[in-house]
Amino acid sequence: MESDVELMMRAKSGDDSAFTDLMKRHYKGLVNYIYRFTNNRESSEDLAQEVFLRVYRSASRYKPDAKFSTWLYKIATNLCLTNFKTKRKEQNLSLDEMEENAGGFEDSKSENADNVVYRGEIKDAIFRALETLPEKERVSIILCKYEEIPYDEVAEVLGCTVGAVKTHVYRGRMKLVEKLRPYLKREGNYEL
């Protein structure tokens, strides 16, 4: 099987079938990565297409210095964060308001935590908890946890050191413990 770089080099020289193969290879992973930022499948697919469009347009400038997937996730991360900021502006929500909302959500959920049985609700709770994290902590956790990308590649995506990535994951994880505590207590498996 051809490597990503080989396919990208073929795409660079004008071979569209190579680019199609690349898309098919990474599409599901990319959609799921974006999905952790949007919690909406439709918009995740649209954004994933936008990412591939950007990759296609800049194919002529591609240099195989880094892994293709790192480059892809870097573009996707920038797009997701820009999209998130635009969305937040549209909603006219300040960060403080978001924190307040998150707090309220946690409190209200703690009362009803016993009733939370649906996976959908847990999913929404995780999304909302992740949404309140600072950008780098959120990206680090999503890449490490859901995409299973090693720290050094996450560091490349974020443009920081491996140590900084570990710190982001650690801090984010601790914040998630606080934000998702009601769900940890509820589930028998998670009891201390």
Binding site: D16, T20, M23, K24, Y27, K28, V31, N32, Y35, R36, R41, S44, E45, A48, Q49, F52, L53, Y56, R119, I122, K123, I126, F127, I141, K145, Y146, K166, V169, Y170, R173, M174, L176, V177, L180, R181, Y183, L184, E187, N189, Y190, L192
Partner: protein, 163 residues
């Protein structure tokens, strides 16, 4: 092992990246420190909880939609700006433009020269000589008259008055 050291290793422990000796050290510290034990369990719980957010299966046929979008964008490129932006420059175009420019400049210069050029014929030359001769003759006549009659001021008053 200190508590801070353990916190750093927790992530590695969760994903099974610790070697046997490190794993043993972590577990022995957890047995001794209640605070770290609680921290470790909660950290693991939240990490496992994240797994409950399932992956999604994309619906769309990415390749078909992608190439459709590419071709649509290609069709949209109709404007002059887009045409110039996507203009494929090569030598033949460059040569043609250079040729047109040269022809334009040469033609303009030729027309300008035709417009400003004065044609001096033989007849014109003879006319000019004739005019010079007439001028000289008049000058000679004037000089003779002055010699005979003197200047206008020297004419007696009665002749001027009487006419």
């Amino acid at each position: 092992m200190s508590c801070d050291e353990l916190k750093e290793l927790i992530l590695e422990h969760t994903v099974g990246r610790l070697d046997q000796s490190e794993k043993t050290r972590v577990e022995s510290h957890l047995n001794e420190c209640k605070e770290c034990s609680r921290f470790f369990m909660q950290s693991n719980q939240v990490w496992e909880l994240l797994d409950q957010w399932d992956v999604v299966e994309p619906k769309k046929n990415i390749a078909t939609e992608f190439w459709k979008r590419i071709s649509e964008e290609g069709v949209k490129r109709k404007g002059l700006f887009d045409y110039l932006k996507n203009f494929n420059y090569n030598w033949s175009y460059g040569l043609a433009i250079a040729l047109i420019l040269i022809i334009t400049v040469v033609s303009f210069n030729l027309l300008e020269f035709q417009r400003t050029k004065v044609v001096f014929t033989e007849i014109d030359k003879a006319d000019e000589e004739l005019l010079i001769q007439v001028d000289r003759a008049i000058s000679r006549e004037t000089a003779k008259s002055l010699e005979i009659y003197g200047t206008w001021d020297e004419i007696p008053e009665e002749i001027n008055k009487g006419g």
